[in-house]
């Protein structure tokens, strides 16, 4: 016993060091586990209000670029309005549409904190559960995908950016139906991504567009994710490794849309049931 105390008193600096490091790694592990709401993050009221202030200043710097982008998007949306189509039918039946259910609704939000320089990147949005945002909703812009909502407080929410080691998004070519998985590899820069699992018989060329598929419950189908930049086949492998140029520029996005998939829970429950049944057999 005496020896133990002697040992402790002689090495207490080292023991304190190990203790503090243990606390740190406990915090890291807790904060990294998916969906585990940590209390000390940028949804915290004090921190978020600091970021709101900073963001309200930096907004002015991006005003020109954002106006241009919004105008472009407005123009694009305007072309989709029924009023901008020429009506070729003569007789029209007006009916209450019971065949089409609304599947996605969108919530507009603004990024008030954003990182792209780490291996695991997160963002903070200026809207939270009060605006109807909930964890696991997808986040997109007019130009591509952004990520998935992670934590939500009353007025703020955090997003797991696509620029994250564990990101995996199902994508397909726009002009055919072959699909693969898009990941953010360790040698990808913040403007690139890697698409794997595209079989080698699939015809495509540099510059082809890839879009999201219906496999993902987070994003609507057909959202552009990027264009093919280069590709190769690993020796002994049966599939392409495609380097993609992301259509979202993660460094300067500021306005985003949060996607609310109204039928997600129904789909999830059904798929869970299927999984349980498979496990039972």
């Amino acid at each position: 016993m005496r020896n133990l105390f002697l040992f402790l008193s002689r090495n207490y600096i080292f023991i304190l060091f190990i203790l503090l490091e243990a606390v740190c790694f406990f915090l890291i592990a807790q904060n990294n586990s998916y969906q585990n709401a940590a209390t000390l993050n940028s949804t915290n009221k004090v921190v978020a209000s600091v970021y709101s202030t900073i963001s309200s200043v930096t907004d002015y710097l991006n005003l020109v670029e954002n106006n241009k982008r919004l105008a472009e998007e407005n123009a694009h949306l305007r072309t989709l309005l029924p009023a901008s189509y020429f009506d070729t039918t003569v007789v029209r039946n007006h009916k209450v549409d019971t065949i089409h259910n609304l599947e996605y609704s969108y919530i507009e939000a603004k990024i008030i904190n954003n990182s792209t320089n780490r291996r695991n990147n997160y963002m903070t949005l200026n809207k939270g559960s009060d605006a109807g945002i909930a964890p696991e909703m997808g986040v997109i812009t007019g130009h591509g995908i952004i990520g998935i909502i992670k934590n939500v407080s009353a007025h703020y929410s955090t997003v797991t950016s696509f620029l994250h080691t564990q990101s995996k998004v199902s994508v397909r070519f726009k002009n055919n139906n072959y699909n693969g998985s898009m990941v953010w590899d360790s040698d990808n820069s913040p403007t690139e991504a890697t698409v794997i699992d595209i079989p080698r018989h699939v015809p495509f060329k540099v510059g082809d567009t890839l879009v999201t598929t219906t496999f993902s419950p987070y994003y609507p189908e057909g959202i552009m994710v990027g264009t093919v930049k280069s590709f190769d086949i690993d020796a002994g492998s049966n599939s392409y490794r495609i380097i993609l140029k992301l259509s979202t520029s993660f460094n300067d996005v500021s306005y985003v849309y949060v996607v609310n998939n109204l039928l997600k829970n129904e789909r999830k429950q059904l798929e869970e049931k299927q999984k349980d049944a498979a496990r039972g057999n």
Binding site: C24, F25, I28, A38, N44, V47, T116, T158
Partner: protein, 172 residues
Amino acid sequence: MLPEVIKSVLRFFLLILLQVVLLNKIRFAGYINPFVYPLFLLLLPVRIPKTLLLILAFITGISVDIFSDTLGMHAAASVFLGFMRPYIIKLLAPRDGYDSDAVISLKQMGILWMVYYLFISIFLHHLFLFYTEVFRFNDFGATFLRVCLSTITSVVIIFIILLLFDKTKVQR
């Protein structure tokens, strides 16, 4: 002149503010992010008790963490730096040792000493930080390159800060 304690407290807030508000938004060449907040730990007096140094390191790291959503990472790296600092100072000791009330500044220690001190300390800090962040040794080379480039950037910025605030004439 202000007493050393008040100076340290001021330095703490200024450096964390600088880090969070300005430097966390800077990305040289896309992904090089300079970190200057370790300077607070590096400028504490030479004879500060090791226990206090470790606890201050933890507080500094956690403060930066809360603002950058990386809970634990900067704290871990700072505590590591706090633990290593006495050894680094011992390694760089002049032949006749330090004065009992020695403070670390460009004026007292000289440029060469400061360059060695900053490079060793910041390198160790960044090494620990970046490998904690990646948490695997798969892309060892890529991470190591980031460590080296970030160390150089951080040291240059820290040196500029030191030159700006250490107004008294520098000895050689």
